[in-house]
């Protein structure tokens, strides 16, 4: 079932916090994963796999490079959830 933007954002923030230690409150839609949150490509992949499990979606490897900001990821997850 599709979740609203805030639900996805807070769920994603939890995952990011668990993987990287970044404060969940800092995981905001306008933040860039690499530039602002200092998340490298392998941590990003761990976040992606955990997000797939948590939100019941599939995020192909080729799609990951398009998820620049937290907002991009939230949007992608919401769309994928239908």
């Amino acid at each position: 079932m599709a979740q609203d933007e805030q639900q996805v954002l807070s769920g994603l923030a939890e995952i990011v916090n668990e993987e990287t230690g970044v404060d969940a409150a800092d995981v905001q839609p306008d933040k860039s994963f690499t530039e602002d949150l200092d998340i490298d490509s392998l941590s990003m992949m761990t976040i992606v796999v955990n997000a797939e499990e948590k939100f019941g979606v599939t995020i192909p490897d080729d799609e990951v490079k398009n998820l620049t900001t937290v907002g991009d990821a939230v949007k992608y997850i919401q769309t994928a959830q239908g």
Binding site: D40, S41, L42, M44, M45, T46, V48, V49, D61, V64
Partner: protein
């Protein structure tokens, strides 16, 4: 008109040993230590960046004239010594490598002759980073199947030959070395069932993009100048897609962790043990981050020693597991006779895992 077989006589079936075991292990690390700082004289990176993303502090590179056969020979000696046999007792020599520079002849017959394994069956296998575990599986089956008594399995690579040393995405990962194991008859089961397979759909995730003839020319340039060649300037590779050994890091990371952890788990179950019975976890030394993520997925008990040889050895593909075993035994991190889970995974994509009793 149909033909009829003569139908006379009953074939003799081969008879092997009841069990196979790992009787000896040896390693060879080239003399030259290449630090991250040295790598950073060719690429725009830092020691801290490389350590954080790979866990690699330094690696070994073979000398220019040193071949995979030379390195394999150095690793085979101590493995035979530990096994307590001489090379003339070997009935087969298997070399797992992707960096023997000739398609034919294979490295194994030359190695066998150098070692004094006269008349041994000898062949190479190409399964990249999974090659060593493939070799152990073959050797175990050969011993039990009756086609060999003692088998030498060598994983050896000279990856510095196919690494674009100016590519900031891969120059720091790959390295050189050799590891060897002697497999032979055993009174008790010494090698558990192998869980193996491949996924050719992902073949592009790790692949060599420059043919050997171009690489050889670049090696000659490096030997002449003493400096890493500029592969892009030489036209060997496209500037937009640097690195000859191309690796889609994120794809490989996802596959290695989330697809390989279940394979490792299956190997434990197939061996009839539990993770708590293990004395060591020895995954292919691809990247420390992959190892850490695999441990998390496998939920291994915290007290089980884990191979971290990559820190000072780099990623040596087929050689990484036997090299890690050699170090862990030498440093007494794991006991002789202990149970180790080993898993190789890499280009193909190919993988193989089994639980072995360490020599």
């Amino acid at each position: 008109m149909s033909t009829v077989a003569k139908g006379t006589g009953t074939l003799q079936a081969p008879v092997g040993a009841r069990y196979a075991g790992m009787l000896g292990v040896g390693g060879y690390r080239p003399e030259r230590v290449v630090t991250n700082d040295e790598v950073c004289t060719w690429i725009d990176s830092t020691d801290a960046w490389i350590r954080e993303r790979t866990g690699i502090v330094s690696r070994r590179w073979a000398a220019g004239e040193e071949t995979v056969i030379d390195m394999a020979e150095h690793a085979a000696g101590p493995a035979l010594e530990m096994a307590g046999i001489t090379a003339d007792r070997l009935s087969a020599v298997i070399v797992a490598t992707v960096t023997h520079t000739m398609q034919t002849p294979a490295a194994a017959p030359i190695l066998a002759t150098r070692l004094g394994a006269k008349d041994a069956a000898a062949f190479d296998i190409s399964a990249a980073c999974a090659g060593y575990c493939h070799g152990i599986s073959l050797a175990s089956d050969m011993v039990r199947g009756g086609s060999a008594e003692y088998v030498l399995v060598v994983g050896v690579e000279k990856l510095s030959d196919i690494t674009d040393k100016r590519d900031r995405g891969s120059a720091f990962i790959f390295a050189d070395g050799a590891g060897a194991a002697v497999i032979g008859p055993s009174d008790t089961p010494g090698i558990g069932p192998t869980v193996w397979g491949s996924d050719g759909e992902k073949w592009e995730a790790i692949s060599q993009r420059v043919p050997w003839d171009k690489i050889v020319a670049l090696q000659e340039e490096e030997a002449a100048t003493g400096k890493p060649a500029d592969w892009v300037a030489a036209g060997a590779i496209d500037a937009t897609e640097a690195s000859t050994l191309k690796m889609a890091g994120q794809t490989v990371f996802r596959w290695a962790v989330w697809s390989m952890a279940p394979v490792a788990q299956q190997a434990i179950e197939a061996a009839g043990i539990t993770a708590a019975d293990l004395d060591a976890f020895i995954p292919h030394q691809a990247n420390m981050r992959i190892t850490d993520a695999m441990i998390k997925q496998l939920k291994l008990p915290a007290d089980i020693p884990v191979a971290r040889d990559i820190a000072e050895t780099g990623n040596t593909s087929a050689a990484s597991i036997p090299l890690a075993i050699e170090r862990m035994l030498r440093e007494q991190e794991v006991p002789r006779g202990g149970l180790a889970l080993q898993i190789g995974f890499g280009a193909g994509l190919a993988y193989a895992a089994q639980v072995v009793r360490l020599p």
